[in-house]
């Protein structure tokens, strides 16, 4: 672990620059993606990636250069390219960062169970093959796939103020999907979509229940094929954690990103319906809504000690009792906006610069069991597992769809319905939060696929949530 640390430190101290501040962020990533589709092992995809980003601050202007050459000469050349870039953009620079503080922290962060060996490739294929073979024989089941993705990342951050931050993480994503087809309609059911991912080792596979899941997932795909469409109209909506995470992500996470509020993302990812002046004042949701930036749940995907600019991370309430308190803004955005924030300046790899990202963005558990949540609904619907998401560029008008729906009448779960969709407006939706599940309904999940930034970056983010109920939401089904 960290085998290049000594060499990088030596190279870093030998670098020569006229910059008033500079940093090096080295990232090494190795991964494998294994899958078995319809009982046939797909060829494994393995990967090794490494490189470094040099960032300089020259006359208050920052610029970066990323390089695949991590020799001293390669790093020095990148540093000089970054300096040259800083000089070129000086007459046109938006920001003067001469007064922005920099980190001098030192520390290490390791994923849980990092020292535990991961099952061998043979053992992984055996597990995936066994689960694939457990899909029942039914001619309506036209395709299915069982998969396991693992990525190991080491990052070393050094800067001219003395910061030295190392982190080593392993991310594990088990997956399972089954598609049923009746000659006209098709329905796909999965084990949590792509959202069953955590830091850790083989224990992640166990925690998400991949082993033994095939028959139930297949059965649910067949139930959906036979189910009627979701009826159209207002209903109380019970969202399970594997849909809540999408709801949090799109209609709390993205609107609270401070760089969006500052306008950086207006050409691509969009803006926000939230204004800088809303922090400390806006009643974002009902008093039951408590949202935290929480880097301290060890297995969650974006748990870390420091972000990629070297800022120390700690648990913070962004929304407490429904009141909006803080944005998702890293040190640079905080400096620009003169607002408090969190340590969420993150890059997806060595070749992309850190920007404001979600990290672990969670809803705190409430006090209702699942039975109490269902029992409190007269005319409603349970939806689980996201399959479709669409929201406007200010993160306000949304329409989301799930794999699985179940009607609720007079406090009881009733029949399964297919194509459950709902639409609403973020600024109003969270004020309809009427009940929050307790710790027994709370799940630690996340997504590997949050896209944002120019140049584009896709990054892992964690979301943990209990099941939640929203009153009087417009729900509807599909065409088929």
């Amino acid at each position: 672990m960290f085998e290049h640390h000594t060499t990088l430190k030596k190279h870093f101290s030998a670098l020569r620059t006229r910059a008033e501040f500079f940093s090096l962020r080295y990232v090494r990533e190795s991964g494998q993606y294994l899958s078995v589709r319809k009982n046939v092992a797909e060829p494994p995809h393995l990967g090794h990636d490494e490189g470094a980003m040099l960032t300089v601050r020259l006359n208050g202007v920052e610029a970066y250069a990323a390089t695949n050459d991590i020799s001293l000469a390669g790093l020095q050349a990148a540093l000089e390219r970054a300096e040259q870039q800083a000089r070129r953009i000086l007459p046109h620079a938006l920001l003067d960062l001469r007064q922005q503080p920099v980190s001098s922290d030192v520390g290490d962060y390791l994923s849980p169970d990092l020292d535990q060996p991961f099952p061998s490739l043979s053992d992984c294929y055996q597990l995936l093959g066994d689960e694939s073979a457990a899909v029942p024989k039914d001619e309506r089941l036209v395709t299915w796939e069982v998969s396991l993705g693992t990525t190991r990342v080491e990052q070393i951050y050094l800067n001219s103020a003395g910061a030295q931050l190392r982190q080593a993480q392993r991310f594990v994503f088990p997956g399972l999907s089954v598609t049923a087809f009746d000659g006209s309609d098709s329905q796909t059911r999965t084990l949590g979509g792509t959202n069953f991912g955590q830091q850790g080792s083989a224990g992640v596979i166990q925690r998400f229940g991949l082993v033994g899941a095939a028959s139930q997932v297949a059965d649910e795909a067949l139930q959906l094929l036979l189910a009627p469409n979701t009826p159209h109209g207002p209903r109380d909506l019970l969202l399970m954690p594997d849909q809540m995470i999408l709801q949090i992500h799109e209609s709390i996470g993205h609107p609270l990103e401070l760089d969006r509020i500052l306008g950086d993302e207006r050409n691509y990812a969009g803006t926000s319906f939230v204004k800088a002046s809303d922090f400390g004042h806006l009643q974002y949701g009902s008093p039951l809504l408590n949202v935290t930036f929480d880097p301290d749940i060890p297995e969650q995907l974006a748990s870390y000690s420091h972000d990629d600019d070297g800022t120390r991370a700690s648990k913070q309430f962004l929304i407490r009792d429904g009141l909006l308190l803080k944005p998702l803004g890293g040190a640079l955005s905080q400096f620009r906006a003169d607002l408090p924030g969190v340590a969420n300046s993150r890059a997806c790899g060595w070749n992309r610069p850190p920007i404001d990202r979600m990290a672990n963005l969670n809803i705190e558990a409430g006090d209702k069991s699942l039975a109490q949540l269902v029992g409190g609904i007269e005319h409603g619907i349970l939806m689980s597992t996201n399959r479709s998401w669409s929201i406007d560029d200010a993160r306000n008008k949304f329409q989301f769809g799930c794999e699985w729906g179940q009607l609720i009448e007079n406090g009881e779960l009733k029949g399964v319905v297919k194509n459950p969709n709902y639409r609403a407006i973020s600024a109003q939706f969270w004020r309809k939060l009427s009940a929050v599940g307790d710790a027994s309904t709370f799940k630690v999940l996340g997504t590997p696929n949050c896209g944002k930034g120019e140049p584009n970056q896709v990054i892992r983010v964690g979301h943990a949530s209990p099941a939640c109920v929203f009153s009087n939401v417009d729900v509807f089904g599909g065409d088929a």
Partner: protein, 438 residues
């Protein structure tokens, strides 16, 4: 090319008689500048290069991605280490029944090395053009290379210099116009003219917003808006595997249960496009007519699908998505768009599409950037952001009234992992009825 060729040559002598390989290569040296409020918000330079090695032995195969350093000795060592890792991996795998190798020693070479724009000049032009305007945008430029070599002697090389400036102009009321200027040669006068067009659209956005109620409206989709619809269809829509496994949104079109309007003809036209003429799997990429006069024709078939479903491989990518789509033009003249629209919506861009019901090809998405309310052929006012929810079989089927005679070449500004070379050549589409829901 020399570095890649040297690595491929080394690999040819390093493998045993039983082994075969595919070696893909990608590199780029990119200048990235993002702007906010017409100033540079973040700028940098990225230099990256990578190999993708597939080793095949006795019907078993595995893929390994390797980042290169640019230093020949070290890169050869990384390739040797990768070869060894794959040699240790293959015995752990079962034979793959869907492995289909191309044994042809095809050759492909394309290089375009026109000089890249000088960043100082680009920033100066942008700064001058954007005076008094709230511009936000992203400039990416530099050379991109792609290569392929196989143990069978196939060799492909593609290298091109390009730039793409993708930008938006914002009115003080929050409304915006989106535009781009992309290609191989930066011409200050051309850029200024393109910028001026966007500025002129911006003036319309200053009018008071026209609030629309959900309902059904006539609508004109400019090429960039139509591109969003076409792009989501390409998520598996034309993929042989997705069609066979019933996860394509066009499965009913391919089953002959549905059709699109006879005006709709779509081709994957690799020849003459900006993308490389070979796939990462070692096949030359063929031009394929996907939809002809509203009926399904060809599919995008990679080697694996060819083996699994008994089809002919046509050089499709691993995810069987197109990268050079062309839609046939119609007859609606540019000057007649507003007149023929009459009263309805002029939609410049759509945003964030996804499926409401995938097998029914029912989509939802948002309007974004310059969307106008038009009355009696005249632009009246900008329209607030609206959500639509409608079926492809309606929008490009029974409700398609006309396609424009002029088409627009839209170059992808995407930079996920690497700069994208995909493009779409599309007309605008006049729709008789678009359903708005929120």
């Amino acid at each position: 090319m020399d570095n890649f060729k040297a690595l491929a040559d080394w690999l040819r002598q390093a493998i045993t008689d039983k082994e075969q390989f595919h070696l893909g290569y990608a590199d780029e040296s990119s200048e990235f500048v993002r702007l906010n409020h017409a100033k540079v918000r973040q700028a940098g330079q990225v230099q990256q290069a990578s190999l993708n090695l597939k080793l095949i032995d006795a019907g078993r195969h595995a893929d390994l991605g390797i980042t290169l350093s640019g230093e020949p000795e070290l890169d050869r060592q990384r390739l040797a280490d990768g070869l060894e890792q794959l040699r240790q991996t293959l015995p752990l795998l079962p034979q793959d029944p869907y492995l289909l190798l191309n044994h042809n020693a095809w050759q492909s070479h394309n290089e375009q090395l026109r000089p890249l724009p000088d960043l100082a000049q680009v920033l100066q032009d942008i700064s001058l053009a954007a005076e008094g305007v709230d511009l936000v945008g992203f400039y990416a430029a530099g050379p991109i290379s792609r290569g392929f070599a196989s143990s069978e002697g196939a060799f492909g090389w593609h290298r091109a210099n390009s730039f793409n400036f993708d930008f938006s102009l914002f009115h003080a009321n929050g409304e915006a116009v989106k535009a781009s200027y992309a290609g191989h040669t930066w011409n200050s006068a051309d850029f200024t003219a393109r910028f001026q067009q966007a500025r002129e659209q911006l003036t319309f956005l200053g009018r008071p917003l026209h609030n629309l109620a959900p309902g059904q409206y006539r609508a004109y989709l400019a090429p960039a808006a139509l591109e969003e619809i076409i792009s989501i269809i390409t998520w598996g829509g034309f993929s042989a595997q997705a069609i066979a496994s019933k996860s394509s949104s066009l499965q009913r079109l391919y089953a002959g249960e549905q059709s699109l309007n006879p005006m709709v003809t779509l081709d994957e036209q690799i020849s003459g496009s900006l993308s490389q003429a070979f796939s990462t799997e070692g096949y030359p990429r063929e031009d394929v007519t996907l939809i002809s006069a509203g009926k399904a024709r060809g599919q995008l078939v990679n080697s694996r699908s060819a083996a699994e479903y008994g089809l002919s491989a046509n050089g499709a990518s691993s995810d069987e998505s197109p990268s050079a789509l062309q839609m046939a033009p119609g007859s609606l003249a540019q000057a007649d768009i507003l007149k023929q629209l009459g009263t309805g919506l002029y939609i410049s861009n759509l945003w964030y599409l996804n499926y409401s019901d995938l097998p029914a090809a029912r989509l939802t998405g948002m309007t974004r950037f310059a969307t106008f309310w038009v009355e009696d052929g005249k632009i009246k006012a900008p329209v607030s952001t609206m959500r639509f929810d409608d079926s492809v079989f309606q929008l490009l089927g029974s409700q398609l009234e006309a396609l424009t005679a002029d088409r627009e070449l839209l170059l992808s500004p995407s930079t996920y992992s690497q700069r994208n070379t995909a493009s779409n050549l599309l007309p605008g589409a006049l729709i008789k009825r678009l359903t708005l829901t929120l």
